[in-house]
């Protein structure tokens, strides 16, 4: 454990942990917005349970980020007291829910990446990273099962559902490039053996995406990236305007009543 800590700068390690923690925090918050608004009771419950899984995983990742950082902060402090520029989540997960099809497509694109990431992190040289990954992987296997299932059913469904799923795919796919773009933080973590290069996860993700889209009779949009750029955005703290609104709602209580607990 101390070996892994020495192998990479604490600040770099904490930064990297916040990327994973923030992804599941922001996506979990987005998914929780469906609570009470799902298109069917079963879907409402499924979305809420999935949000719970993601927020639970966030507590583990941000808890470790706070520990590694060593400045006395907690997972709660990271979640509720950072401003938008300090968040490290992918732009994809802060996209608005849109219709149910867009929520599902966002989930599927992320789940297929998430499972590849967690599977790789189980072999991390840091046992704390490896054990969180092994725990989360089991839950995410269910997430992927569900989102892939629904993408197939709605893609290969009615004319209306097919059109909505294709629209969702065309809208969201350009945000997926960021998942696999390596930067200096990723390289330092991979060299330390704690993580793997994001680019190494793309082949597995591509296969899942291609297989499911084919079964769903949806057309792969091709390698088209947002603003024509693959690698900049949320991971470095440059977010869309949506994140500020998410934080305004999520952080309101701690901002208005600092230190409040129950």
């Amino acid at each position: 454990m101390s070996g892994a800590l020495e192998a990479v700068d604490r600040a770099v390690f904490a930064e990297w942990l916040q990327r994973i923690g923030d992804n599941v925090l922001i996506l979990g918050h987005r998914v929780s917005e469906w609570c009470g608004h799902g298109p069917a009771l079963e879907e409402d419950i499924a979305l809420s349970n999935q949000a719970l899984d993601l927020i639970g995983q966030c507590q583990l990742w941000l808890g470790l980020a706070a520990e590694v950082e060593g400045k006395g902060r907690t997972a709660d402090a990271l979640a509720f007291l950072r401003d938008a520029g300090a968040f490290r989540n992918l732009l994809l997960v802060e996209r608005p829910n849109g219709d149910f099809g867009q929520t599902l497509m966002r989930q599927f694109l992320f789940d297929a990446f998430h499972i590849e990431l967690l599977r790789a992190l189980k072999a991390s040289s840091d046992p704390r990273v490896a054990e969180i990954a092994a725990k989360a992987e089991k839950e995410v296997a269910y997430h992927l099962e569900r989102s892939a299932d629904l993408v197939v059913r709605l893609g290969d469904g009615t004319t209306e559902s097919h059109a909505r799923m294709q629209k969702a795919l065309d809208l969201l796919f350009p945000y997926t490039g960021e998942m696999f773009a390596d930067d200096a933080t990723d390289r330092a973590m991979a060299e330390a053996g704690i993580a793997v290069l994001p680019s190494s996860l793309k082949a597995g993700w591509d296969r899942t995406i291609a297989d499911v889209l084919a079964e769903a009779t949806l057309t792969h949009p091709g390698e088209v990236w947002q603003h024509g750029v693959k690698g900049t955005g949320g991971k470095t703290g440059v977010h869309s305007e949506y994140l500020g609104f998410i934080l305004a709602e999520m952080q309101f209580l701690q901002r208005a009543y600092p230190g409040a607990s129950w």
Binding site: K138, A141, Y142, R207, T208, V212
Partner: protein, 173 residues
């Protein structure tokens, strides 16, 4: 026996009487989440593994364990979390499974957790589940899955096509 330090077998017995807060028909030891119990000097250390990462019952479980042990005269109790190996429904006791069934929740079928690998079976994903779950009320296997999710993170929603009753399935993880 040292009155201040009850035997560990006694402690395990006490823990087997602490009900799960969400599914009170089974105990925490039936659920397989108590991983270790040991004395460290005058402190009883109970190591618990979470079920699902975000299960809201986790905090309540720790409070219930501490309260149950305090009530039996154990003064110093420390709860520790252990993530590895991650909890699996394989650890549900045989007795716990029968209690679930009698309560109306179909117990998990070991070895059926998804592994996140979709290749080769995507065409069979759509809308169906290849699990055969017996209705906990009438025993019929003429059942269907309504949703992968249920009233708690650990359960899925199913329906019996013979007795027409909906029921929960404690899904395998």
């Amino acid at each position: 026996m040292d009155a201040a330090r009850p035997e560990l077998t006694q402690v395990w017995d006490w823990l087997s009487q602490v009900p799960d807060p969400e599914i009170p028909v089974i105990s925490l030891t039936d659920l397989g989440i108590v991983r270790d119990v040991e004395w460290q000097a005058d402190t009883l250390v109970v190591t618990v593994t979470p079920t699902y990462s975000g299960c809201p019952a986790t905090t309540v479980i720790n409070l219930d364990i501490a309260a149950a042990l305090h009530a039996r005269g154990v003064e110093k109790v420390r709860l520790e979390r252990r993530l590895s190996p991650p909890w699996t429904t394989d650890w549900l006791t045989a007795e716990g499974r029968e209690k679930l069934r009698a309560y109306g929740i179909a117990p998990p079928i070991d070895g059926t957790a998804p592994d996140g690998r979709l290749a080769g079976r995507i065409s069979r994903l759509a809308g169906t589940s290849n699990l055969v779950i017996a209705c906990p009320r009438c025993g019929s296997t003429h059942t269907e899955r309504l949703s992968q999710a249920g009233s708690t993170p650990c359960k899925a929603s199913w329906r019996c096509k013979d007795c027409l009753e909906p029921f929960d399935y404690f899904k395998c993880i």
